[in-house]
């Protein structure tokens, strides 16, 4: 029961504000996107590097997913 409450609380705190913010779309005009195009502003700019990180974490921890990176294919999990 406590886990259920914790789950809902975390989702409320973390996800709902994000989801709500997504409804405020199209506030950034094309000529305002210079900063967003910077490589350091791109999530997982190097997918292979992200996969390398994901690879060793996946096989040493019990969780997976929702990181934007993909690894797998190994029988070591």
């Amino acid at each position: 029961m406590q886990d259920g409450r914790l789950r809902k609380t975390l989702l409320l705190l973390g996800v709902l504000p994000l989801a709500a913010s997504f409804t405020n779309c199209a506030t950034v005009q094309p000529w305002q996107r210079g900063e967003l195009a910077d490589p350091i502003m791109i999530f997982n700019e190097n997918p292979i590097e992200a996969g390398i990180n994901e690879h060793y974490l996946d096989y040493r921890e019990g969780s997976t997913g929702a990181t934007g990176a993909q690894s797998g294919g190994c029988g070591c999990g």
């Binding site: 989702l11 996800v15 997504f22 094309p30 292979i48 060793y56 974490l57 997913g65 190994c74």
Partner: protein, 435 residues
């Protein structure tokens, strides 16, 4: 072995055509419905059955289609990475990769990747002849002080396509196939994703599906067992301000078949008697994770990335992950990154530090034990064209150096090494050449 899990919420239909796309689009809405239906404020999401969520997903998908814009293909490049892993459990892994991406038309590109895992571990030569950390086993031949104990090879091919006509014009999809083989395990994976830019390119919606077919044929057994994995996922990326971008991620993973580790040994200590058993775990595991990320530009040269993830599964493993990455341009010549990641997780319902009698499910896998981890990262990117050096004088070249220090603490000692604390060092050196 029968699973004790209730029937899954998601009945996955064959993913064909528009119906498949709509089904994938419905997943996040179904998720939101199932978690927020008690919140009157979120009345938009009220309703708790899959057909309704499917309908909402379909409507939203159609709305998105109406305001779509074109996307770009990945750049042509060759990337080589030399990666290594060392830890205090005496595991050493070298895993070089090479990847090539090439456009072959204005709307299509192909990518190829090859990886080799070369593993050496003192534990592979132990009494059980297995490696309790990586679950790798000594090869039938080879091994020894100067030879690797395990070699895994992985090859992947991918295809990206921009859709330039039809109902889904402006979207892009990718399809990837991956095959991995080691002497006692093989895996074939198909992954597909579809993404769309919306709302004047301020929003990117991506739905994906990964499907794996694995075979396990351990050296110490005479059988071959199979495992299948479905992983639908959903990602929504939104530019919030000219300096702030956010991302919402959800993944659902259903693994069925043989999930256990055939090499790990459960010792049942009953009085003075010690008996060894195989690990036994349920034959199905449903894993869900939701995450959010924010990337904020600090001034002209720096950016701060914050990521949160909550994970829960049908084995009662819950976890929470927080990570922070700060990156800064050092002029045009280099970029420095400093990262920190914190993770803590709960224990699987059938995990016990010690078993006094044989049980239906028994495991000694530290990944299913309560614990936490910390990961410290430093990375440096050197941009070509800014140095008078043989390789770095070329503006198409980029060099990447990545170092991680990883510490994992588990509540009970690891079954094989008997350590509670794992310290690992990961080094990666990479070169990218864009042509």
């Amino acid at each position: 072995m029968k699973s004790t899990l209730p029937a899954g919420r998601f009945n996955i239909p064959p993913l064909r055509g528009v119906r498949g796309v709509l089904w994938l689009a419905a997943i996040p809405f179904e998720f939101l419905v199932s978690h927020f239906d008690s919140l009157r404020a979120a009345s938009f999401f009220v309703g708790n059955n899959t057909p309704l969520a499917l309908l909402k997903g379909g409507i939203m998908c159609c709305l998105f289609i109406a305001s779509a814009f074109a996307q770009d293909l990945p750049q042509d490049e060759v990337q080589v990475n030399l990666n290594s892993y060392f830890d205090n459990f005496n595991v050493q892994i070298y895993y070089p990769t090479i990847a090539v991406t090439k456009r072959f038309s204005d709307s299509s590109s192909v990518n190829l990747r090859y990886l080799v895992d070369v593993i050496s571990a003192a534990s592979m030569r132990s009494y059980f002849a297995v490696d309790g950390v990586t679950s790798a086993t000594t090869k039938a031949e080879g091994g020894g002080d100067n030879h690797p104990d395990e070699v895994r090879q992985e090859a992947a091919i991918g295809f990206n396509e921009l859709l330039q006509g039809g109902l889904l014009k402006g979207g892009s999809f990718s399809l990837n196939a991956l095959y991995s083989r080691e002497h006692d395990y093989s895996s074939f994976t198909l992954a597909g994703s579809f993404s769309y830019l919306l709302a004047k390119k301020n929003t990117t919606l991506q739905v994906g599906m990964v499907r794996s077919w694995d075979r396990s044929f351990p050296q110490i057994r005479t059988w071959t067992r199979r495992k299948e994995v479905y992983t639908p996922s959903f990602t929504l990326t939104q530019a919030l301000t000219p300096k702030l971008i956010a991302q919402l991620l959800f993944s659902y993973n259903r693994t069925s078949g043989y999930i256990g580790d055939p090499y790990q040994i459960v010792q049942v200590i009953d009085g003075g008697q010690v008996r060894n058993f195989e690990t036994t775990v349920p034959d199905q595991r449903v894993r869900k994770a939701v995450g959010g990320r924010l990337n904020y530009k600090l001034g002209q040269q720096s950016a701060l990335n914050l990521a949160l993830r909550y994970y829960w599964d049908s084995w009662d493993v819950n976890s929470f992950t927080t990570s922070l990455l700060w990156q800064r341009h050092l002029g045009k010549a280099a970029t420095l990154g400093l990262g920190y990641r914190n993770y803590f997780q709960g224990r699987a319902y059938f995990f016990k530090p010690q078993y006094a009698a044989p049980e239906l499910y028994m495991t000694v896998d530290t990944k299913l034990e309560r614990g936490y981890s910390n990961d410290y990262e430093i990375k440096l990117t050197l941009n070509g064209g800014c140095y008078r050096l043989p390789v770095l004088s070329n503006p198409n070249v980029q060099l990447n150096v990545l170092m991680n220090l990883y510490h994992r603490h588990s509540e009970t000692p690891d079954w094989h090494s008997r350590y509670q604390d794992l310290f690992a060092y990961i080094f990666s050196f990479g070169a990218r050449y864009r042509f």
